[in-house]
């Protein structure tokens, strides 16, 4: 699965039909996807979607055709060479993707990471990077 960050610019959605049109655009590719995050701001509606790798091209294309802004987004990766197992990142991770084992070594579970990137600037060794 790959995470994409989509933004429906402010003013694009005036009523429910506009929203349905975009959702239908995704659904017509007959895929299931996860909405990891949904937020609204003055710039519009932003969603983090988790999409099967093989469908990413088609979906990106059709969303862009509908004027939706699509940015590929990363989960994080840990550079084991740089990591010193302090664990400073673990309390920031909402999904326990970052945790420590019984010997207090850092463990990262890619499947649990939802790309919120809260941990990114917490690492004193810059061992956490966004993996596009």
């Amino acid at each position: 699965m790959t995470i994409i960050n989509i933004t429906l610019p402010f003013g694009m959605i005036k009523d429910l039909d506009d929203y349905s049109a975009i959702v239908n655009e995704i659904l017509k590719h007959e895929i299931s996807f996860n909405i990891l995050k949904f937020s609204t701001s003055s710039s519009g509606i932003t969603m983090l979607l988790d999409i099967p790798d093989e469908k990413i091209e088609t979906i990106t294309e059709s969303l862009k055709k509908n004027n939706v802004i699509v940015n590929k987004k990363g989960r994080v990766i840990i550079d084991q060479e740089k990591c010193i197992d302090c664990g400073a990142c673990t309390s920031l991770c909402p999904t326990d993707a970052l945790s420590t084992d019984s010997e207090f070594k850092l463990v990262f579970s890619e499947e649990k990471c939802m790309g919120c990137l809260l941990c990114l600037d917490s690492c004193p060794r810059h061992a956490i990077e966004e993996n596009f």
Binding site: I84, A88, T90, S91, C93, E103, D121, R125
Partner: protein, 490 residues
């Protein structure tokens, strides 16, 4: 029963010494009791591996030809302190590089030196008859130095606090990233492995004590700065030969929006000379307590919210106000464990001997606050009366007040003077340009505020960070009691 240092060292020499880590000692005493443990165990090793900002190294470069007496010098663009003889310097780990601050600092330079990497030295001099060279730009490795001495005035805090953040903003501190509204908690210290916690009356620890330092052998020079034994915040001043140390135990680090520091690995061996020491070294994470402190309050005396044990902290969650919050260790517990195990192995292998201190660490020093000769100013000392309008006021009246009172900020409140928003002269101009006539459409509702008892410097910093020029002063009930603008701060 009692043992002497000589008896223990004799056993180490023969390879007969029984050495355990402080974690293992907890279980041994639990099973066998202090009396038997004191007879059986000779040495308990401790360890900690965490960020220790008061760390650095003295370096001596030897003389150039012609000779130079440094006035300014930098190592990989990190300025280092030069206030000694011609070619001595002190590189401190929190000093940040001029070209990439908040990314690279003195701690990273030390890590690179210990790794055998080449470091660039740039220096200038005002020149003298005996030191005529004005400038130097050269590269060196640790092997080229005469002396490289790690010398840390404050290391290995006996324990440290657990930090949380009550404010509504993410804070970036030396205790890491603290999420708003008590979103997480960060603590430091190795708990039951912590060196000073295993001998809290410093019966065996003091000047000259041989220790594990940065992967090599070091010595305690005495009490560390801010040594505060009465409330169990003891510290040590340490030194050691950097040339013997390992990058694995000396790591340069950077804390986002705070700056650089260095992780230092330290382990102290505690000789079990008597039953009392067996008991002390058996202290468990459950018995070691520390305070949960609110870093959301930017003052010296931050509120203490509760006491928490290292057992709870190491479990990954603490309870606060009936909620479970995730907590992280700032120091590496894995590294602390490795330090204690390595020191244990050195002693077992007969490579490391114990010695009595020339003088034990003091038990009576106190940690005083800074004497501030200038009186601190608070918001209440400099605030002025706020010009107030109600939400349903006509924009034209607001504009008139701005002109008549010669002000740029109008605070909007309800009839009880409870803060509802703020309007600036710029907002009025904008309203006219955009043909807006309703005050409600131009009010900034999310207002950044201050209170009477906030120090002026904190209020000024908030204005700077948010790029604004005024803060309404409110009381606990959000009632407006004044305003402070950048003009008052000039």
């Amino acid at each position: 029963m009692t043992k002497t240092y000589a008896e223990i060292n004799e056993k180490i020499k023969k390879g007969d010494a029984v050495v355990v880590t402080a974690e293992e000692m907890v279980k041994i005493v639990e099973e066998k009791g202090t009396k038997i443990a004191a007879e059986e165990i000779d040495v308990v090793t401790t360890g900690t591996f965490g960020p220790m900002c008061s760390s650095g190294a003295f370096l001596n470069f030897g003389h150039s030809d012609p000779p130079i007496k440094f006035e300014h010098l930098s190592l990989n663009d990190v300025k280092s302190y030069h206030g000694n003889a011609a070619v001595d310097c002190y590189i401190g780990c929190t000093r940040m590089a001029d070209i990439r601050p908040f990314e690279y600092g003195g701690g990273h330079v030390i890590e690179e030196l210990v790794s055998g990497k080449s470091v660039r030295l740039k220096g200038t001099s005002f020149t003298t008859d005996c030191y005529p060279l004005a400038e130097i730009d050269t590269e060196f490795t640790i092997d080229d130095l005469n002396q490289a001495i790690l010398c840390n005035p404050r290391n290995a805090y006996q324990r440290y606090v657990c930090a949380v953040n009550s404010s509504d903003k993410t804070l970036y501190t030396y205790m890491g990233k603290l999420l708003p509204h008590f979103g997480n908690a960060n603590y430091a210290g190795a708990g039951s492995l912590s060196p000073l916690s295993n001998d809290p009356e410093y019966e065996t620890i003091g000047i000259g004590t041989r220790i594990f330092l940065g992967g090599g052998i070091g010595y305690i020079m005495g009490e560390g700065t801010q040594h505060s034994p009465s409330n169990r915040f003891g510290t040590i001043f340490v030194k050691g030969d950097l040339k013997q140390m390992k990058p694995e135990y000396l790591r340069g680090v950077t804390y986002e929006k705070y700056g650089t520091s260095m992780f230092v690995g330290i382990g102290i061996p505690i000789p079990i000379l008597n039953e009392g020491l067996a008991k002390k070294t058996a202290i468990s994470d459950e018995q070691l307590l520390t305070d949960v402190v609110d870093y959301g309050i930017p003052r010296r005396d931050r509120p203490k919210l509760r006491q928490v044990s290292y057992k709870e902290l190491k479990g990954g969650f603490i309870k606060l106000n009936g909620k479970k919050i995730k907590c992280s260790s700032m120091s590496s517990l894995h590294g602390a464990h490795k330090v204690a195990e390595t020191l244990k192995k050195w002693i077992q292998d007969g490579k490391f001997y114990l010695n009595p201190p020339a003088e034990t660490l003091p038990m009576d020093t106190i940690f005083k606050p800074m004497r501030m000769s200038a009186e601190m100013k608070f918001v209440k000392d400099l605030k002025k009366n706020a010009e107030i309008c109600y939400e349903d006021c006509d924009i034209k009246i607001v504009a008139e007040i701005i002109i008549n009172k010669n002000t740029n900020h109008i605070v909007i409140t309800d009839r009880e003077h409870i803060l509802k928003g703020i309007v600036t002269s710029f907002d009025i101009t904008k309203a006219i340009a955009q043909d807006k006539s309703d005050l409600k459409d131009i009010i900034t509702k999310k207002v950044i505020t201050t209170s009477d008892n906030e120090p002026i410097s904190n209020a000024a910093r908030r204005m700077k960070i948010n790029n604004i020029s005024a803060l309404p002063v409110i009381d606990d009930n959000k009632k407006v009691v004044g305003i402070i603008t950048s003009e008052e701060l000039m």
